[in-house]
Symmetry: C3
Subunit: 273 residues, 3 copies
């Protein structure tokens, strides 16, 4: 079943509009190409709306947001909603500053979001109005572990119900939930947190998966989450003695490029919660 999700991305090659931060934007473009999608970036308010119109999906990432890109996010999001295209929000650093928290809240309020994907601190900030985000990484106190899994799954389902969005919380264990159904994903490797952009890349790729699989967005999100985690494991296993995080990043994109549906199906470690 995850195989079909991946195959649809490769077959349909969805064009994804990304309004994203300038730190990891190149990685986002390359992971989209590697997974079978096609990226375009435009963040001028005048340009963004029209570019969204020719795309299949929209990925909004609020890292390095600024006064010029916020209206572009809103305009493109509304256009995407009007077209019936999926919009994903990656609330990078929500909770770390008022501008980020307020912008994420405004995007949630004014747009219909198909997916919200972040770490637990960011998602808690959006759900509870307050979080303990430390920079762009999840706060240790918030980490999703076996102990807190059940409670976090409940939280994710409730937030999905409240927002009408699929909620994806990534960390040591990932959670993919809508109001009724949740999956816990145990793919991934801790080295993914030692490179910049693991989360941003997943959001970009997930937008392609959701766009190419409109009939089952929850499964599309699950497939993208498993694919990224599995490729993180495979990238780590390929590291030689002298290699480090830069080689790991390169291997990760390579593995996404190489990944086929059978391998994903076999390697995906998810369970219904």
């Amino acid at each position: 079943m995850l195989k079909e999700m991946l195959d649809n991305v490769r077959e349909k090659a969805p064009l994804i509009h990304n309004i994203t931060n300038y730190v990891t934007v190149n990685d986002c473009a390359n992971i989209l190409l590697a997974c079978g999608g096609s990226p375009i970036m435009a963040d001028d308010p005048e340009d963004a709306e029209e570019i969204t119109g020719i795309c299949g999906g929209l990925n909004i990432n609020i890292g390095t947001l600024n006064q010029r890109t916020i209206p572009a996010m809103l305009a493109a999001g509304k256009k995407s909603n009007a077209c019936g295209h999926p919009v994903l929000l990656d609330p990078v650093g929500a909770g770390a500053s008022a501008l980020r928290t307020q912008t994420a809240n405004r995007l949630m309020k004014e747009l219909k979001l198909a997916v919200i994907r972040g770490n637990i601190s960011e998602i808690k900030t959006l759900a509870l109005g307050a979080g303990t985000t430390k920079g762009v990484d999840a706060d240790v106190a918030d980490t999703v572990s076996e102990d807190t899994l059940t409670q976090t799954v409940t939280f994710a389902k409730e937030f999905a119900g409240k927002t009408g969005s699929i909620i994806v919380i990534t960390g040591a264990i990932d959670i993919v939930a809508d109001a009724q159904v949740a999956f816990a994903v145990r793919n991934g490797h801790s080295m993914m947190s030692r490179i910049t952009g693991s989360g941003c890349m997943l959001s970009a790729m997930m937008t392609a998966y959701v766009t190419a699989n409109p009939e089952d967005p929850l499964k599309a999100c699950l497939a993208a989450t498993c694919a990224m985690g599995l490729c993180g494991e495979k990238a780590f296993n390929r590291l030689t003695n002298h290699e480090g995080t830069a080689a790991f990043r390169s291997h990760l994109i390579d593995e996404i490029y190489q990944l086929d549906g059978e391998t994903l199906e076999r390697g995906a470690a998810h369970e219904l919660r």
Copy 2:
């Protein structure tokens, strides 16, 4: 003869000002260094004009353009024209949005462009006032193939005659043309379209080639086109079983760094049309 073009870049190490998108800007800087040039980026209107003054050539790329960078492109372009330095335009996404098409047209009208380099959809948009650009990639209907080569060469020469610019159309077959002479280039590998930045990198490198070879800009464009395509082939041939697009991108820059004039001369696959 292509050897001389490459040798001049390495000998003169031209300083190239790039006003370019934030997606592939790092790749543009690194390919310029790899080929023997030297990059500088500045896109604030106040800064761009002065920076252009200390450079030898200017590369304008309209990907992720915005209201702040458009005046910088115009100011830097005019300064570069006044200095008698070559200006290259890469009309990324012309045809995909009004802002991009209008900006490309305005740059063509207000600046003397030594070179315009894009895919066939972008160039058709500029030449015919309308195109079928799908995002930042060429539309399939537009692809330059053996069947359409003769007609596309004629089109390129006519557009070169009309604009006074060298026209470089890249794709499965590349065309490098001025009003009188055109070359078809059959170097390259399809994997170049699976990474972001192949086109942007070529534009940056081509600006260095044209800057270092003012007496023969057409041949300089031909040399840069062959060099990029040949290194794409060599990068692909170096891929091991597990490697994918990220390794390919790294190999491509490495091959440009390693390329010498004799290898370029031997491997270049161009013919006069």
Copy 3:
């Protein structure tokens, strides 16, 4: 003694706010993660000040500065000063344009800078009010060699005395100086100048070192300088026949990730001047 500096970075994992150029920002984030720090980027005036407040140190890099980011640099710098956090200035291209020179001077005047790190042309511009910066690389006439070392050390100490900042001048020989003490560092490899971002990455990493070692910032700067140079040597030694600058960049970040205190202590080539 350098070992302790490195160990403190890994142990404390300082969160570093970077207001930096979009050319090498991804490399800066990845080198910070590789050395044991944690990066965050925010350059909107409204966002930057608050983000700085949750960080331990601030790295200001004026490459691709613009009218929007300059107020962010000032606001974040003042906030960082108020918090007693170290601020590092990397005056990229000072001397190459009035905007860059004036901005660097303004930052020096309005902020208390713990460290100023640049190439000799940039530092001379700041110290003497005029320089011969050619783009973003040091002018050949300015190069620090054995012949000019003594005189440049004196210059660096004097400028450190005048500014109250630690002065780090990087090049073929690096100088790390405060008003009383200076070190010359002979680590490094010329290939570091053939990739973009060597200097920017060092500035980002140095901010982490200074933040994690508040009791001895001069030694922290020395440790970061030796670490980067030593890893440049090690990255070069790992290059295979076919590899070039892209592989070198990747190896460099990998070596920073792999580096431990004992190796740094053993490989550091510094002398008191």
